[in-house]
Amino acid sequence: MIVRELELDLDAFEGPFDLLLTLVLKDELDLSEIDVAGIVVAFVERLAERERLDLDACGEFLVLVAALLELKARGLFPEEEAELAELEPEEAAEELARRLAEYRRMKEAAAWLADRLASEGDRYFRLGPAPLAPKPERRLADQDPAQLAEVIRLLAAEPPTPSLAHMALQFPPVTQFVERFRALLRRRSRIDFDQELAGLSRVEQAVAFLALLDLRRNGEIAIEQAAPFAPIRISRTDVERDNSWTVRSA
């Protein structure tokens, strides 16, 4: 049986014994929170599971637990540590006895309270908030009706129409481009879309493209593009029709 691997399940700690020791020595775990008796019980339980008494384990455990107890005892009187260290053994025993007596009295007092709670267990009474005292009146400051009216008038006024000036998206009418393309195509049978629109803003280009789609829908033009992102070529449908007719008839 290896003492260091003793599994502990305490209120303040769960894990192997050596981890507990490590944490305590690193000051990461407050020893005053640790129930040392719980460790002893865990050890004894493990010991009882064995048929033979493991004296080596017992010895190791005693040394470790004694060290732990001493640490804990010292930790409980941190500010008086120096003071206690100066005491003669007999005085220290006196001090210890005094503290034990104090704790013992409190234990007895606790036992008395437990008895009392048991004997007074059938007490039923109405529970509620503390007796109601009249609440202090909240006095308002003197009010001026004219001032109130003024404030309400401010609230009642129609808010100004929000300005859209900062929103620069202004669309030129689609018809403008429709007319422009028609005019161009009257003069030439084919035009290059990108070329014609060079120098226009992004929004204008977008509207121009809409105009293009409009014309295509009306059957006025044909659109072709050799490959994605290649130049878009626009031609009059009558020209196109002539070509297709030529091809078909050939």
């Binding site: 929170e33 234990k107 709670l117 267990g121």
Partner: protein, 200 residues
């Protein structure tokens, strides 16, 4: 002719007792004699007389409601014989029992309070944080200022509810600590006995 007749028909203290009775039935916490005197605008001594009248009327075995002196005041509670029935319908203020840690902490606060968590930990030898938090939650102890000095720890004291639950008129009804357990001498003797028995 009217005056003597009225004196015979209504005893003024009896009338006062009815008013006190009414105040006590409305109250959710014990009422002190001074509070009753203030509400009735009457003399504290006459209030005492009215209370003793009522105590006789509302006592165990005679009434389902019992008037008792508790937590520094007077309050109605259910008669003990009705406890079982009450338990079927209502929860007790301390329904679940108190743990050892809670009882020890409660005892320390009751006897030495107002005291801080470090005070309690020093006597019990283990941290008292969760026990204190539990007792505060149950309303048996409450904060009572802070220790002197900057960043002083919070002090705790028992509440009127504590006295009511344990049926105490006041904290002075707690038994004297000297009457409880062994005193320093007996413990010292025991320590010496153990030391002597130890093999050299």
């Amino acid at each position: 002719m009217d005056r003597p007749l009225r004196l015979i028909s209504t005893n003024p203290v009896d009338q006062l007792a009815r008013t006190v009775e009414a105040l006590l039935v409305v109250a959710a916490a014990p009422l002190a004699v001074e509070e009753l005197a203030e509400a009735t605008q009457d003399d504290p001594e006459r209030i005492q007389t009215a209370l003793s009248l009522l105590s006789d009327r509302y006592r165990e075995g005679r009434s389902g409601i019992v008037l008792e002196k508790v937590a520094g005041g007077w309050a109605f509670r259910a008669a003990r014989e009705a406890g079982e029935a009450c338990g079927r319908l209502f929860e007790k203020p301390v329904q679940r029992g108190l743990s050892h840690a809670a009882l020890e902490t409660l005892a320390i606060v009751a006897y030495l309070g107002p005291c801080t968590r470090p005070d309690i930990a020093r006597i019990r030898g283990v941290a008292a944080d969760s026990a204190v938090a539990g007792l505060v939650e149950r309303g048996l102890i409450a904060e009572a200022g802070r220790d002197d000095g900057a960043g002083g720890a919070i002090r705790y004291k028992t509440t009127p509810l504590f006295e009511r639950v344990f049926g105490l008129e006041s904290l002075s009804q707690l038994p004297r600590l000297d009457d409880l357990g062994g005193d320093v001498d007996t413990i010292r003797e025991r320590l010496h006995e153990i030391a002597e028995k130890r093999p050299a």
